[in-house]
Symmetry: none
Subunit: 359 residues, 2 copies
DNA sequence: TTGTTTTCTGAATCGACGC
DNA sequence: TGCGTCGATTCAGAAAACA
């Protein structure tokens, strides 16, 4: 799949399900969807008979409208699943009115749940009647296409964004207001415009520059604006011409971050692999040098071929570390140290030095 | 319905669905349920230090399929619905593995959703493999029996509990540990014991003294312990004799609180931690912006993930500040400034602004 | 006795790659 | 596709151990 086969960085007007079905299979890296939940379905539904409405019928009404919502959800989620690349992921946001239905259907369709992420609003609408808890959050579900997908998660970038602590499943962010909120004739243009900060974190966590991000319920185009800012491609679907025009105008004004280096998310995972043997080969350690664990409980000797040897074991730095600790596994780079000027220095420092040479 | 028709303040041993079906219809004011989560774990998980994570692998959490789990859920939820008084409410807690299925079924059965409430854990288990966001919350769904029910919500009590601000739908509470955690021979007695603080808030918000509270998955009896403490009646159902005995012994030791004022939580919380990443995410600084120290001796560029970069270093605001000064450590918030209208402004000002939003 | 450091643990759907 | 090998990965709070 080449990007050139896709209508990139524009809004496609029309029914989102039909549009998705017309786009090439397995072509999209990530989907962000903010589906409607207040469908005005009642008029379209046919009760099996025309009997007078009573309490029982009320229940029936409710059931039938859930069923209609489920049908709609299944259709667009199936179309979305078809569009996703095998290792692509999808985010769906909703509230308690619809998110449980969406979540169940996602599981039924074979999507694999990675996280449910809570958007905690710093400034939610208060509850006026005092009959419930202030509804101060929305829920996002993040899924991979299936259980074994090798999806993208920019762990280190998320950790950096959170002061070097793992990013949690609850995100505290304000709602979209002030200058960021699109207005038309002085009133808000769209009822559910999402804040760019929310999309920033979504996009930064699960895509890389150049990826294709699709939003089937584009609205005022927050997904596109953030995608452009972060150097990703976007495709917006919407059936409302006014929204589509507003979104395109909005995104036109967005300036991408130019220096791609600033966008690159660090991933230790993709750092070049350094075999321990090269540390010996390069003379940073010599055969016969003695390694210790951090507290000098264990020791081992370096051999010329980059293995270690103890009184009763021979093997890689990892195997030997695991053996002396009687542990199932061990990261030898972190475990072993060498004495330099009376201090124990972790051998991982040698690996870092070799990596720096390669960069 | 008189209370005398009910087996109050004891644990009923056996299958919870059968037991519920044997109790009188419309007799219970509130139900709190912590059903099996249907975790689908396979293989062991080790921490980075090679210790094994003690996961939930109990028989009662094993279901063959989503369908089997749904059938089970429908059965117990129907039985629970029959037991509830017309104006009673029910709470169900779960995680992303099961809560979407439970939520859908609740809606299908005609329950009326009042809130979904997020329990944010202050001290969740971290994510060891770095492949997801740290799963730091669980979800509770609070429902009335139907749309027009005149359910109980102690609005003022909740507001008082929250420093005279409306109680929100996200609750920040620690997990159950330390002395509160029931142990048997030194190891945790139950894999999923809930903290009493969580149940305090549930019970205090939606019941009044003298009410009957039923828990169909009683386990070690946290619901009963809190109910007794708060002067409510409780009924616990469980099929495990050991758990039942442990719970009864535990509740026997509980002393009811006479002065409810004591339950007020002093929540003059310390200043919330603001990661530098949020300043970028929120657009207060943009990737590529240049930061200087107060005397413009050093400069660094902001990256998209909230790290800084200089000619020969990349890292957090603190690490980078320390590096350029060749100092062992540095408070980046105080050290770095940005030029605005020709003036250097300390980036700590941004942190203050974000803190103010969190009030 | 008191302050400091180390250890332990909690509802977890938790790898990638080559042969 | 299945299996073995290599290698990457943790935060907060309480309790225990130690100084």
């Amino acid at each position: 799949m080449k990007h050139s086969d896709l209508p990139l960085n524009k809004v496609l007007l029309g029914d989102c399900i039909e549009t998705m079905e017309s786009l090439p299979e397995g072509s999209v890296d990530m989907i962000f969807a903010d589906p409607p939940y207040n469908l005005q379905l009642k008029g379209d539904l046919h009760r099996p008979n025309n009997t007078k409405v009573d309490a029982v019928d009320d229940d029936w009404d409710q059931f039938e409208s859930f069923q209609a919502y489920d049908e709609f959800s299944k259709r667009w989620l199936k179309a979305a699943r078809r569009l996703l690349k095998p290792d692509g992921t999808m985010w769906v946001i909703g509230s308690y009115h619809n998110i449980f239905r969406v979540g169940s259907i996602l599981q039924d369709l074979g999507f694999w749940m990675l996280n449910d992420v809570i958007w905690r609003k710093t400034n939610p609408m208060p509850n006026f009647r005092g009959r419930r808890f202030t509804n101060a959050h929305e829920t996002m579900i993040w899924v991979a296409k299936d259980k074994d997908a090798r999806y993208r998660f920019n762990y280190e970038a998320m950790k950096s964004l959170n002061d070097d602590l793992q990013m949690r499943s609850d995100w505290t962010l304000p709602i979209c207001s002030g200058g960021e909120r699109l207005k038309k004739d002085g009133v808000k243009a769209h009822p559910t415009q999402k804040p760019e900060s929310l999309l920033y974190r979504v996009v930064l966590s699960s895509t890389q520059p150049g990826d294709v991000i699709l939003d089937p319920f584009f609205g005022t185009g927050t997904t596109g604006a953030v995608a452009k800012k972060l150097g990703r491609n976007w495709i917006g679907l919407d059936q409302d011409k006014d929204y589509a025009e507003m979104a395109e105008r909005r995104i036109l004004r967005v300036k991408p971050i130019e220096d791609l280096e600033l966008l690159r998310t660090e991933s230790k995972r993709s750092a070049p692999r350094i075999p321990f043997g090269s540390v010996v080969e390069r003379g940073m350690l010599k055969p016969g040098d003695v390694l210790y664990d951090g507290r000098r409980r264990y020791s081992a000797k370096v051999r010329a071929d980059g293995t270690l040897v103890t009184a009763d074991f021979k093997g890689s730095i990892h195997q030997t570390g695991a053996f002396v600790q009687k542990a199932p596994s061990c990261n030898g780079w972190q475990f072993w140290h060498v004495e330099q000027k009376g201090q124990l220095v972790c051998i991982d420092a040698f690996r870092e030095r070799l990596r720096a040479e390669l960069n």
